[in-house]
Amino acid sequence: MRDAFEKSSAGQAEAEAVERLLGETEAVRSEIRRAAASVDWETLPSVIADRAMAERGGALARSVTPGLRGWPFVFLMKPALAGLAAGLVVGAVAMYLALRGPAVPQNRDDAYYASGDFLDRAELELARRNTLDYLEKSQYVLLDVFESADRGAIVPAALRSERARDLLQKKKYLNAQLGTVRMAKAKALCDQIEMLFLELAQVDEELPAAELAKLRSYVEERQLLLKINLVRKELESGV
């Protein structure tokens, strides 16, 4: 009798424990309801549809010249980018020639003379400088956006969107370099900034207040300006 009673009390305690446990999920459900209530569901479909159409438009434009598809064509179209690439190639060749040093005998002991380590460090240094430059320019654009909203349009919207597009181009070039493991944090930050520039690049007119508030809250919630400062400091003091 006592055993049965004990078993029944244990079962009841067990059921209560599971019930209490599952009760905790209600807190999350109400958190989700609050978050869902704060979303503007009326405008979201248009935002997504516009983005989808824009991306399809871009894809179609790229597919018009299939023979010229790929990065060499990008360079043909963008003189500045082509110049930058040419500079990099010349720099890389010059560095290779400078570092190669005098011809060394084909001795196994000397095979490490053209140090892979050194080349890795050079690549990292290049990535570091380019990232610093990207972050600095991004910071200016972000500050421009918010300051022009606070004080009236200081920077014309078309120019701002042009700058955003330039930075998006630069980011594409940076992506390969940022893949380096030691640059993972900077890459994460640059990816977040890129999302913002994707929005900005599509706006050629003055931003509506609601859109601006959304962008501002994106920047503030993710503390992007603070993070840019921190990553810049970190990069300036060496990766």
Partner: protein, 197 residues
């Protein structure tokens, strides 16, 4: 257009036809699909990533992917399950990426720069908030499939047959994973719940 009217519109229109029109570049058809499903996708995404902005990113990415793959939908199959599969996969990618980023920041950010969490809503309710915090942490530590089934069932409030379609598993497997998830949570939270492990 409100969600209710969008649902009515879709009640009349076939999803396959909406997708066909979307594929042909009809923006309105695409918007109708988004209106119909955006909240469900958001709830699933939020359940997994637990961040409003990340969940909105997932919603956008899911529908952008749908736009690209609209032609791959096979009529006769559950559209919602297909869409939710996409949303689930994107959410998991987002979650993993976010976790990685968070860990990187946590290891690199000096103590004084770590944002202070908001104070609990009610003071003097520390036992309850301890359980809440421990519960959230324990859910994060569940094996991925158990966690997915648990959050879909309890946060997104999906039925087991919906979970099974979204995860491409049988209903029995979904129930079994759910049972294991509850057992593991109960075991890990036994000291706080005041029961035997």
């Amino acid at each position: 257009m409100s969600d209710v009217s969008a649902v009515r519109e879709a009640g009349a229109a076939d999803i396959a036809s909406l997708l066909e029109r979307t594929q042909a570049g009809d923006g309105e058809a695409f918007k109708t699909i988004i209106r119909l499903h955006q909240q469900k996708v958001f709830v699933l995404a939020y359940s997994i990533v637990r961040d409003r902005e990340d969940a909105l990113d997932v919603v956008q990415e899911t529908f952008l992917r749908l736009y690209q793959k609209a032609g791959r939908y096979r009529p006769g199959h559950s559209f919602q399950a297909w869409l939710m599969q996409m949303a689930k996969n994107i959410s998991i990618d987002h979650y993993r990426k976010h976790l990685k980023k968070r860990r990187e920041w946590e290891t690199a950010t000096p103590l004084e720069e770590i944002p202070v969490p908001a104070a609990p809503a009610r003071e003097g309710d520390s036992a309850s908030s301890d359980l809440r915090a421990a519960f959230s942490r324990c859910v994060e530590t569940l094996a991925e499939r158990q966690r997915m089934v648990f959050v879909m069932r309890h946060y997104s409030e999906l039925q087991f047959h919906e979970i099974s379609e979204t995860m491409r598993i049988s209903v029995g497997t979904a129930k079994s994973l759910h049972f294991k998830a509850v057992q593991n949570l109960r075991k890990r939270l036994a000291p706080i719940l005041g029961v035997e492990p």
